[in-house]
């Protein structure tokens, strides 16, 4: 994985993308703030959401078995997948058993995480993305940069040009309605002829075996009801104990995600029902690193995440660099704590440092994930695993200096001497590496002529 600072440098140079992101995140941010403000019990809801998720994680073994039994009792099939390859093989197996060369897909982060589309392509099956934004990315060979608004880095003129090249030759309008209509014309026939649908899930209810998908466009409703066969892949942490728990999450999620009081489409189904919807239903329960995350007492709260993306929209880092810099299907603050845990800290060691620790993410998280706390926890692990020797030595040295006041005074005196040739008109404009990374864009305030300590000694002691 390219390190975050390197990837961010590339993304920051994309001025159009920065403008698109800024406009889009500003809009969602304002909408969210407005609908959250109108709920007097928002803080209670957050606490309830956190508590339910903590309970799920504490008793995950029991809830998973309960869910499996309930799905099977309702006529569904349950598959357990330790990793991405196992999960993808289940989906491919179902598609092959029905002899199809195309499946229609609901937008799903979990199947993005397992790279399902690529795995299906290898066995000659095309996975058609039916979410508007996912379709855009698929048509352009691009990839998602936001959990909820995958094409947030694109504007409508760019989308019009793409459609003109691909599914709607001759389209000239970049009116959102016309662009949506073009995709509708393209997709509608595929919905009606598809024989296998693939989805992720927002929630799985342990008590009833019910699966819940929350969406805005109706494509999900079509994928989960029209094809005779449906496969749903969900991470094992997506369970809720009781049906009644949806009351909490269906308030938290749309308000946090799109800034809506209620999302346009909420689909709930339990197993199969004769003459109604898919007649064959498979659930794939995916681990793929989650049980390892669960073992970490501080880090496990990342599994509370309901993928609302409120943390992305308020993040000053995300809104500058965009999602691609995080090199994962989970970008932004939640990605910075989830990806290193799922992949192992040694494989994503720069991500926990991709934050100024401003805390805006924690403030908006609907399930109260203390992202800054987990970031610090993971930073300590990253340093242990692979901090550069020079940095380690420097930090130890600074800690030694801070160990006694006389050492700090001596360091201040040294600094004062050392900076002498560098100070121009009261500011340091250039420093050697690694501090040159500061002075490339900023002046540095010099060490004061007299420290507070010596002033105090002179004046008061």
């Amino acid at each position: 994985m390219t390190s975050f600072p390197e990837a961010a440098r590339v993304e920051l140079a994309n001025v159009q993308q920065r403008t698109n992101l800024r406009n889009a995140t500003d809009t969602i941010r304002a909408k969210r703030a407005k609908v959250v403000e109108e709920l007097p019990d928002w803080e209670d809801l957050r606490e309830a959401g956190r508590a339910i998720k903590a309970d799920v994680l504490a008793h995950l073994d029991e809830y998973l078995l309960q869910f499996e039994a309930a799905v099977e009792a309702a006529g569904g099939f349950v598959h357990w997948a330790r990793d991405a390859a196992e999960a993808n093989a289940v989906v491919a197996g179902v598609a092959r058993a029905h002899g199809v060369d195309e499946v229609v897909k609901v937008k799903s982060l979990t199947t993005d995480e397992t790279r399902l589309n690529a795995a299906l392509a290898e066995v000659g099956i095309h996975a058609l993305e039916t979410d508007f934004a996912e379709l855009i990315l698929q048509l352009d060979g691009d990839w998602s940069s936001h959990i909820l608004v995958p094409a947030i880095h694109r504007n409508r003129a760019e989308i019009r040009d793409l459609f003109a090249r691909t599914i709607a030759p001759g389209i000239v309008s970049d009116d959102p309605r016309d662009l949506a209509e073009a995709s509708r014309v393209y997709l509608r026939e595929r919905f009606l002829t598809a024989r296998v649908g693939v989805s992720g899930a927002n929630f799985g209810i342990a008590e009833t075996g019910t699966v819940c998908v929350v969406e805005s466009e109706g494509n999900g409703r079509m994928c989960t009801t029209l094809p005779p066969v449906l496969v749903t892949m969900l991470g094992i942490e997506k369970l809720l104990p009781r049906f009644a728990d949806l009351e909490v999450f269906l308030q938290l999620l749309p308000r946090s995600a799109t800034g809506e009081r209620m999302n346009p489409y909420t689909s709930l189904w339990t197993g199969v029902a004769a003459g109604d919807g898919p007649q064959e239903f498979h659930v794939v329960l995916l681990d793929n690193g989650r049980t390892r995350v669960l073992r970490d007492e501080v880090g496990r709260q990342a599994l509370h995440c309901i993928r609302c993306s409120a943390c992305l929209n308020v993040c000053p880092v995300y809104s500058r660099v965009g999602g691609h810099a995080y090199g994962s299907v989970y970008p932004g603050p939640i990605g910075a704590i989830l990806t290193p845990q799922l992949l192992g800290i040694e494989n994503a060691s720069s991500l926990p440092f991709a934050s100024s620790l401003c805390g805006a993410c924690y403030e908006v998280c609907p399930v109260k994930i203390d992202i800054p706390k987990v970031l610090l926890h993971l930073r300590a692990k990253a340093v242990e695993a692979k901090a550069p020797a020079a940095e380690r030595a420097l930090m130890r040295g600074v800690a030694w200096v801070f160990g006694r006041p006389w050492r700090l005074s001596a360091a201040q005196r040294l600094g004062r001497l050392g900076q002498r040739p560098l100070v121009r008109a009261g500011a340091i404009r250039r420093l050697p590496p690694p501090l040159s990374r500061w002075t490339r864009t900023r002046d540095l305030r010099p060490v004061a002529a007299e420290s507070f300590r010596s002033w105090w000694r002179r004046e008061r002691a």
Binding site: F353, F402, R404, T441, D443, F452
Partner: protein, 223 residues
């Protein structure tokens, strides 16, 4: 009240004026300020950079020095937030919250001629929770014109070693903050954290901007 001053490593080294101003304001209000000379750093930089063991040692050291005092004041909200959160030390206050919340003072008898933009630092808002204490104090400074800072609650991009490790992202955040500050027509930008003022001031100075960074304590100390 007898109040111990925690100058912080950055305050002692780079912002001694802010520390002196803190002493002045409190003494003017009739309090006794002491400076425990054993103090150095609270360990925040090490903790935020992933050096947990060094941070724990420095935190331990801080606790031993400052635990005996009824009240400790610091001109840095982020250090205060760290020692409260990590070490559980409820006797440590950022200057503005000590004045407004603990001592019940909103008018410290200061006068300062100038247009001032207040940047609410992230840790003062979300970790130390100083709320509007700094604004209440600023509104009572004679001659001071407080201007509204657009997108005030957004981070300036400092973030400790983040400013070095992710220099480009940090600078992009700073550029937007500086644009916001300059758009107000303010002559000064103030805050309750030297660290953020180091970033903002460094950016303003590089731009050749006429806006000056100034710690809140220095405004409150001026008469």
């Amino acid at each position: 009240m007898r109040i111990a001053l925690f100058a912080t490593c950055i305050g002692d080294t780079l912002f001694p004026e802010a520390c002196r101003a803190t002493v002045e304001v409190l003494e003017r209000l009739g309090h006794e300020v002491v400076f425990p000379e054993e103090q150095t750093c609270c360990g925040q930089m090490h903790m935020n950079s992933g050096y947990a063991r060094d941070a724990a040692q420095l935190g331990q050291r801080f606790a031993e020095i400052f635990r005996p005092y009824e009240a400790v004041v610091s001109p840095s909200s982020s250090c205060v937030g760290t020692v409260r959160e990590v070490l559980g030390m409820d006797n440590v206050f950022e200057l503005s919250e000590l004045l407004v919340r603990r001592l019940g003072v909103e008018d410290v008898g200061a006068s300062f001629a100038g247009r001032v933009a207040y940047h609410p630092t992230c840790h003062s808002l979300r970790v130390t929770h100083v709320g509007d204490a700094p604004l209440r104090l600023l509104r009572n400074v004679r001659g001071l014109e407080l201007v509204e800072l657009p997108r005030a609650n957004e981070c300036c991009g400092f973030g400790g070693t983040f400013a070095i490790k992710n220099a480009e992202t940090s600078s992009a955040m700073l550029a937007d903050k500086l644009d916001a500050i300059e758009s107000t027509g303010a002559g000064y930008c103030t805050a309750v954290d030297g660290s953020c003022l180091l970033q903002i001031g460094g950016g303003l100075s590089r731009r050749g901007s006429a806006v000056r960074p100034l710690h809140l304590a220095e405004i409150l100390a001026s008469t």
